[in-house]
Symmetry: C2
Subunit: 405 residues, 2 copies
Amino acid sequence: MISIGVLGYGTVGSGVVEVLNTNQDSINKRANEEINIKYVLDLRDFPGDPIQEKIVHDFDTILNDDDVKIIVEVMGGVEPAYTFVKSALLAGKSVCTSNKELVAKHGSELLQIAREQNINFLFEASVGGGIPIIRPLNSSLTADEIDEITGILNGTTNYILSKMTFEGLDFDTVLKDAQDKGFAERNPEADVEGYDACRKIAILSSLAFGNQVDYEDIYTEGITKITACDIKYAKSMGKAIKLLASSKRVGDSFYAMVAPFLISSEHPLYSVNNVFNGIFAHGNVLGDVMFYGSGAGKLPTASAVVADVVDAAKHMNRNIMQLWSNKKLELADIKTAKRKFFVRMSGDAKTRLEEIHKVFGDVQLVTVPELENEFGFITSILTEAQYQEKAEKCQGIINRIRIED
Amino acid sequence: MISIGVLGYGTVGSGVVEVLNTNQDSINKRANEEINIKYVLDLRDFPGDPIQEKIVHDFDTILNDDDVKIIVEVMGGVEPAYTFVKSALLAGKSVCTSNKELVAKHGSELLQIAREQNINFLFEASVGGGIPIIRPLNSSLTADEIDEITGILNGTTNYILSKMTFEGLDFDTVLKDAQDKGFAERNPEADVEGYDACRKIAILSSLAFGNQVDYEDIYTEGITKITACDIKYAKSMGKAIKLLASSKRVGDSFYAMVAPFLISSEHPLYSVNNVFNGIFAHGNVLGDVMFYGSGAGKLPTASAVVADVVDAAKHMNRNIMQLWSNKKLELADIKTAKRKFFVRMSGDAKTRLEEIHKVFGDVQLVTVPELENEFGFITSILTEAQYQEKAEKCQGIINRIRIED
């Protein structure tokens, strides 16, 4: 029997308890051990809940119990999670976490401690909820040099953009609906401004490229400026607008960014809609691969946490994760990143075409009949700096959205 | 240093050599060992090829060399692969294979021998080419009871159906084009009749459900009867026709089949086109998950084989695969499987509607303006037996295609 302690009895924590109860037999069989929840750490009490008898309020009770071999950390936030997780690892207990802030900030150090202790620090649930992506990167894509990871990593913003697309609604209306349905937080900033996706792509990039990618270094733009009109242009081009979190190796340079992109219907992420997440990767021998599923939610996230618990139980004295170095990966300045841009401009296309040509050279015009007194166009491939310079020469740019080919 | 022997220097075998050479440094780093190809077994010689100095014609040379710790079997076919692999495992050498026939037929026994020897029998490349699916089923989806696996598991047929869809061509024309391009074999039977997909779903089902699923027991129907007209109906319904290999748990019954299905645009497999494969799974706590990528091809398949070699090298004296029991899983009679059917019928819809209603009850009519003197309809949910019985009462059924919702 392996005893575990669960830190936090919130949404994911209660999901972990539920999953372990629901699939008890098959989980124990796969772990080759009986998994037993001995403690649940929470500041609150849960009178009437069967979990109450396992509730403790002091982390040291769990830390000092030698019976406890695996800690599940599902509190979220850097502190006190970091202090708890680090002391657990140093005490020789494996840790499974869903905490993206913790992994993005301290993943390198915690992986290193786990390696030294010959135990495990696992974090499948920190990116993509229930979608297996950390373990495939760690142990499936090992024959490849990964040169791109691009994901739809935030379910809330994907739900909002999908709903705007399918129902023609504007951002504010859909956000309110998402909040009412519990798909968006009352304070939606972390989602809609791209901060959540940014931490997740930092984790994936660090793992894929082997060096610490600091999320503070990643250029991040949210979806708050995307309007119902932008979506009309997207549809008329047969494209979709998605919040992509992307990192790419181009020669010896590494680029990472989070921003809304126009993607075509041939892109594997095009049909990832609603609250689903999708993660696309490209390997130099494997080619394209994509993983799709529920990127959040109580049970899918708990499923990933419990799969980590099974793996930790199967590898009690054997470290299985690749490390990434704490040496920082220097990201290239995104001003040098090259792509096409879609630009929306006020005025009449015919009247302004000469001016546009003068500044942008050859462009591809895009018009939506119902949108009067404005038009759109697609530029040739430009660096961000070149685009910026040209855009400053033009009056009346309403919006610009990057294009991912 | 770990020495390996590669059995077979065909497409995949030469791909394995290429991948190991191309990504040598990162592969050795991830394996924590230098991987060295010591022998390549082939009946042929390859004068001028750098591999020639490693070519041997006698398997015993490899078997009897204690230096060789890992065997890569990429010959295909049951014999002599089975004899070679079994004796390698019994001699304490781990085996990595891309051979679906071998795994479908003898997987249970070979996994058991590897378990007893405390080594590994790995077969990521046997299903879905470069797509990680065996390892995720083995070590990521371990918190779940899998109740469905449905895949587009054959790139040739998916290419044919995609091309028929996008270009409106008929089966024979596209097959010839696929053969000319090397996407289809000169003898295409194993692909177009569904036999290849059948072996692959047998492997996935055995692994997911824990008991041997014999591929001979799986009802299998190919795509040779799908016509350009069927595709026109599919388009008019907003659906796609895909060759699905599917196994499902319904209560205590297990169903498995390979057949062309109509799927709607909301299905995660809808946009898996051309030679790509996609594998959809549903877990009782995870919900939906889908894996997408190159299902065949020299380098993607070799990438999966080499990832297995890395895993075998990292687990030299530790067995990591779940077993499945050699006790056969009794599949339910597909006559009891329930679904809607799309039926194409000759004649005039209006004239025949009363007759159709009498036999099939409420149906949903589907017409394609350019197709005269015929019409289509979608039945209510029926068992295969019920459909069969009703269909026998009607004259002039041109085709029927199952619908996957």
